[in-house]
């Protein structure tokens, strides 16, 4: 994830981590902040302690990645770890896709 951020941020790729806690201690924003420092996470992280975004996405999984194209459409959902090579090719394809601003 950090690698993708470093590689594609300049090409118009934005990573947003939505931190939805599973357990009580994960609700502590300070703990999340510490983990960002510990894992050297450079991208934006939304604190979803009330599960609002989680519910609006009707998500059920950790981790779950939603790949959203330039028009705001979800194009690919990746649940769980692995298949990073394929996920990266999805990012590259979505970045290469032409976009005409309205």
């Amino acid at each position: 994830m950090r690698e993708w951020h470093e590689k594609y941020a300049d090409d118009g790729f934005v990573i947003i981590g939505v931190h939805t806690p599973e357990f009580r201690h994960e609700r502590d924003v300070q703990n999340v902040e510490n983990s960002l420092t510990r894992l050297s996470i450079p991208f934006a992280v939304a604190i979803d302690n009330d599960w609002k975004t989680w519910r609006s996405y009707n998500n059920r999984y950790w981790p779950a990645m939603y790949f959203i194209d330039k028009t705001g459409q979800i194009r690919y959902l990746k649940i769980g770890e692995g298949q990073y090579g394929y996920s990266e090719s999805v990012i590259q394809a979505l970045l290469a896709e032409p976009y005409a601003a309205n």
């Binding site: 990573i15 939805t20 992280v45 939304a46 779950a64 459409q73 090719s89 979505l94």
Partner: protein
């Protein structure tokens, strides 16, 4: 080789000198016994080596001592470098330095030649890269055939729901609506 021969030469020279000195000393002793009236009859040399019955033995011991010194003298040049030895070493040091400088100069010359060659080659490579970029320019503006195939598979699954959070880390609060034109990856995760 030069250093070695210089040392050997010295060796011989020193030995000769020592032999001469000792011969003189021996002669002196003899002279003292026979022809050195200036030291007088109370001279310790005369007393110790002349009057006693053990005079011969004493002389023999003295000779042995001198032989020992001679041997030690022969061994010395190896251990202690003499001034001339140091001189030859420094001469050689100077020669080595001169050779090293010459070699370094030659190497520098070669290196600069290589650098020139490299610069030429990399210049060519840069030229090639430039052409690749030019030809790839069309590819950057649009997806490759492979990517088109992939994009065709990635059918739109509906508009991504807006992000509703107010507390953010590493960023000001973001809205997907403001990120149109960007490819966005929303990842639900938990650090625990």
């Amino acid at each position: 080789m030069e250093a070695r021969s210089a040392r050997l030469h010295l060796h011989t020279k020193d030995t000769e000198m020592i032999v001469k000195t000792l011969t003189k000393a021996l002669t002196d002793i003899g002279v003292v016994r026979r022809n050195r009236p200036d030291l007088g009859h109370n001279s310790p040399v005369r007393l110790s080596c002349g009057r006693h019955q053990g005079g011969r033995r004493c002389r023999f011991a003295l000779l042995m001592l001198i032989c020992g010194m001679l041997l030690a003298g022969c061994a010395m040049p190896e251990a202690i470098p003499t001034q001339s030895d140091q001189g030859s070493q420094s001469d050689q040091g100077a020669k080595v330095e001169a050779i090293q400088t010459r070699v370094a100069e030659e190497r520098a010359g070669q290196a600069s030649e290589k650098e020139d060659a490299m610069a030429g080659a990399s210049g060519g490579a840069q030229g090639q890269t430039a052409t690749a970029e030019e030809s790839g320019g069309a590819l950057v503006s649009g997806p490759t055939a492979e990517q088109l195939e992939l994009l065709a598979k990635l059918r739109p699954q509906g508009e991504a729901p807006e992000l509703l959070n107010e507390v953010w880390l590493n960023s000001e609060p973001l809205k997907l609506a403001d990120l149109r034109g960007n490819v966005v990856l929303v990842e639900f995760w938990t650090y625990g």
